[in-house]
Symmetry: C2
Subunit: 486 residues, 2 copies
């Protein structure tokens, strides 16, 4: 039929990951029906399989937040303009990309309302009313919401999107010590989710002053790599000190009856992670979704003719019933052929495909194919659950190990600026170099090599003795991971 | 200490539910720290305990949606103005309350973008590209998101809020029959959530033509009552027929190769339900939260002095450890006295409070108090789990039964317009009357009595033979529940 052929044609991937990464990235997202472009430029539609991924990331992170004592709340989407203006650096950072609501119905507002690009200012207005006494601290709130940043740079699905979904944690503590202690806890949660849910690994570290968040006194990030060797910032954590508490007058009476300003942090993980996850794991056949994030973990494709249809379909349901804890889908539709279905679920990145036909039915087994390695195997129907659970675990492990190895093989320690420039040009990932700590050198490096200081990895700050800044030759204070960056 | 006293003073409830319902409603929401007003007029802040309630409603509903085959997706927050204009009745219904984004940063947009008041138009633009063949149907998507309706009427927390959270389901079917069958399934899901999660009961039925959704061919609702006897619309379901599919050109090739327009439905449950839940269950001491929605289901308050503190706190933790499946919080803070804590958790509506002091410790028991009835009882520590679980079930049942009885005692069947007018004036809930089906009579009734046709209850449409319209005296076609309405 004509409409079927049309559809197959549209879906076929033509770009290769190695040859044309950015075209391949777009094709796998669109053709697999993972996302679609929308009529609003720079904003995507999350179709069910990608929204499912986000929902699982949210759920896994939220459980860990709650265990840590961080609670969810929900603050207004709109922020009065005067609030954004209260913290100078903050407004300077966000002003160029704020979307403005100027009226409703036929009325024009007296004051413009910003569609939140981030919620510090609207939340801290509430905090200033809620926090009065040491008894009200710590206050550790988070929200899962949508934010809008109308960037004029070229948008890329998930990676740079004018509307995206994220968590934003905003906490207030009585002492600086407590505020600083939260960093390890929160970055630990994000690392755990990246590793155990998305099967990704990143580099945690501190941002340079130049790269810190608008309004923070120190920023921390988990920096990731894309398959093209360019860096991309993952989840982040900002210590805001008393910057906002002073602008928003968030103070409390301590146990001695003295007024004190609170110490604050903010932290976030966003739908950008979905883009990194997809890019790192997928291949020229389409998406590869890690088992914990796959809406369908196992697809059963029955292969039958008129004479054995009933038996085979019944067998498919029996097989499914053996895997109650897993997300199993039997595609028994007559609309498409088994061959079409094989391609379809490969394109969609379903972790395991099971085929069952006459042979499998008679032998009470199933023929399985792993999406990640392409490996085929058979197993007896009675060992379905343990066999398939075990295979899903292996798939997760394999995906994680591959990204970890990729990361590790893409960190190059250099002490020589010529070598540095040579590597930066070649998409070789992070180039780790000693640095004196001056923004001047950082700027010069960026100017000459287009490389950004991604962060200063926590675990790389040793053996600095006697090391010289890669640019100016003065005494080095930090090791920095430089990279071309998204 | 001065700040403590201040706080207690602020929190004390002064209004009574019976005497001044609307003041009482605001006081219990604000003073219990359930919500707060925000700097954006008509928009509230969901503090952790109210957001928790919404998260649980969302979760329970979403599980049932997924079982029914409805999947979650996420569409853009902004809608191009030309889309809203495509369906005439739709834009006429929403235009007066749409918030408009006119630019970003320093740029002005060529076309205004609406902040979604509902997402039919942006979703159906995608649907028109996704749906090509009978193979692509049904398409049953839902999203959990925020919407903005800038109503100029007096805002009331949860009940009428300029930004609120909801689900919006938007489905497309090949045939009218399938589309109509979805109604029972979806209203069934909403009724189940109301009953089993919120402990509420409502009246499902069809809306009159006048009251149907802007763009629908038929609307259905579950109508609820507030404690003051005024009606309020709960979850709804709209059959849009082919109205939108024709405006948005959503057509498919059927099995015979002919083009057909899809048949569509939309449905929603919103954070308004939290307002109804709170209003119905709570009392003059504060909130009463049904056990399934309470962030803390059981609070343990240890009562100790310096000499037995260690033992009592250890005993509190032991008691908590016996109730692993429940959400139990031990308030061992020294910041407040036990008496203060009793009031605090009563105000916050925690379903069960457990006190343990020296006597309880020695006897290995706990003293419990139910929030809903005030009933006190003791139980042995080793029977904690079964005893407390059983009590939580009883609390849910009691709350549900009370609202059901209230509802049933507030439906008055009348056949006489004088009697009708008399009842409507007295906040007596739903006045059920026969009606001829004409908008003219409906309008006249509204004009003369301020009563709205809430809906035509499914289970009331019998024994219509010989009944006359309450207003014009012509033959009646329906029984309608009229009421003063929020």
């Amino acid at each position: 039929m004509s409409d079927e052929n049309e559809k197959e044609q549209v879906k076929a991937l033509t770009a290769k990951k190695k040859d044309n990464f950015s075209e391949w990235y777009t094709q796998i997202l669109i053709n697999s029906e993972f996302i679609d472009y929308s009529a609003v430029s720079g904003v995507i539609v999350f179709r069910p399989s990608s929204y499912y991924v986000w929902d699982k990331i949210r759920e896994a992170t939220d459980v860990l937040f709650k265990e840590a004592g961080i609670k969810d709340a929900y603050f207004p989407l709109f922020i009065p303009e005067r609030f954004l203006n209260k913290e100078k650096e903050h407004i300077a950072g966000f002003n160029p990309e704020v979307a403005w609501v100027t009226g409703a119905g036929n009325s024009t507002f007296d004051e413009r309302l910003a569609v939140r690009p981030t919620s510090e200012t609207i939340m801290y207005d509430s905090y200033s009313r809620w926090i009065k006494s040491w008894r009200d601290l710590p206050l550790r709130l988070n929200q899962w919401n949508n934010v809008v940043r109308w960037e004029f740079k070229h948008p890329t699905p998930f990676i740079r999107s004018r509307e995206f979904l994220w968590n934003e944690g905003h906490t207030a503590f009585a002492t600086e010590k407590e505020a600083l202690e939260e960093r390890e806890q929160v970055l630990g949660i994000y690392s755990k989710v990246l590793k155990e849910v998305l099967a990704l690994e990143g580099v945690p570290g501190k941002k340079t002053n130049k790269e810190k968040f608008a309004g923070a006194i120190a920023s921390y990030s988990i920096e990731m790599l894309m398959p093209d060797g360019w860096a991309i910032q993952g989840p982040d954590f900002h210590n805001d000190g008393q910057n906002f508490s002073k602008s928003f007058d968030i103070k409390f009476t301590d146990k001695n009856g003295n007024y004190q300003y609170v110490h604050q942090n903010t932290f976030a993980i966003s739908t950008r992670m979905i883009g990194i996850m997809v890019a790192m794991h997928s291949d020229d056949k389409g998406l590869v979704i890690p088992p914990k994030l796959a809406e369908i973990q196992v697809v059963i494709i029955p292969i039958y003719n008129d004479s054995n249809k009933e038996k085979i379909l019944k067998y498919a349901e029996e097989l499914k019933s053996k895997m109650k804890d897993l997300r199993v889908y039997v595609d028994s539709s007559d609309a498409y052929s088994p061959g079409w279905k094989f391609n379809e679920y490969e394109l969609k990145g379903i972790p395991i495909r099971l085929e069952i036909g006459q042979k499998e039915y008679e032998g009470r087994f199933a023929t399985a194919k792993r999406r990640d390695t392409g490996e085929k195997f058979t197993f007896n129907v009675d060992e379905s659950e343990s066999k398939i659970k075990g295979t899903l675990d292996k798939i997760h492990e394999n995906l994680y190990n591959k990204t970890k190895e990729f990361l590790e093989s893409h960190i190059h320690k250099v002490y020589d600026y010529e070598k540095f420039k040579d590597l930066i040009g070649k998409d070789s990932g992070f180039v780790q170099a000693p640095w004196c700590g001056s923004t001047e050198c950082e700027d010069k490096i960026a100017e000459e090599t287009k490389a950004k200081a991604t962060n200063m990895p926590f675990d790389a700050q040793h053996d600095l003795d006697g090391k010289k800044c890669i640019y100016c030759g003065k005494e080095a204070k930090y090791f920095v991971n430089f990279a071309r960056s998204y």
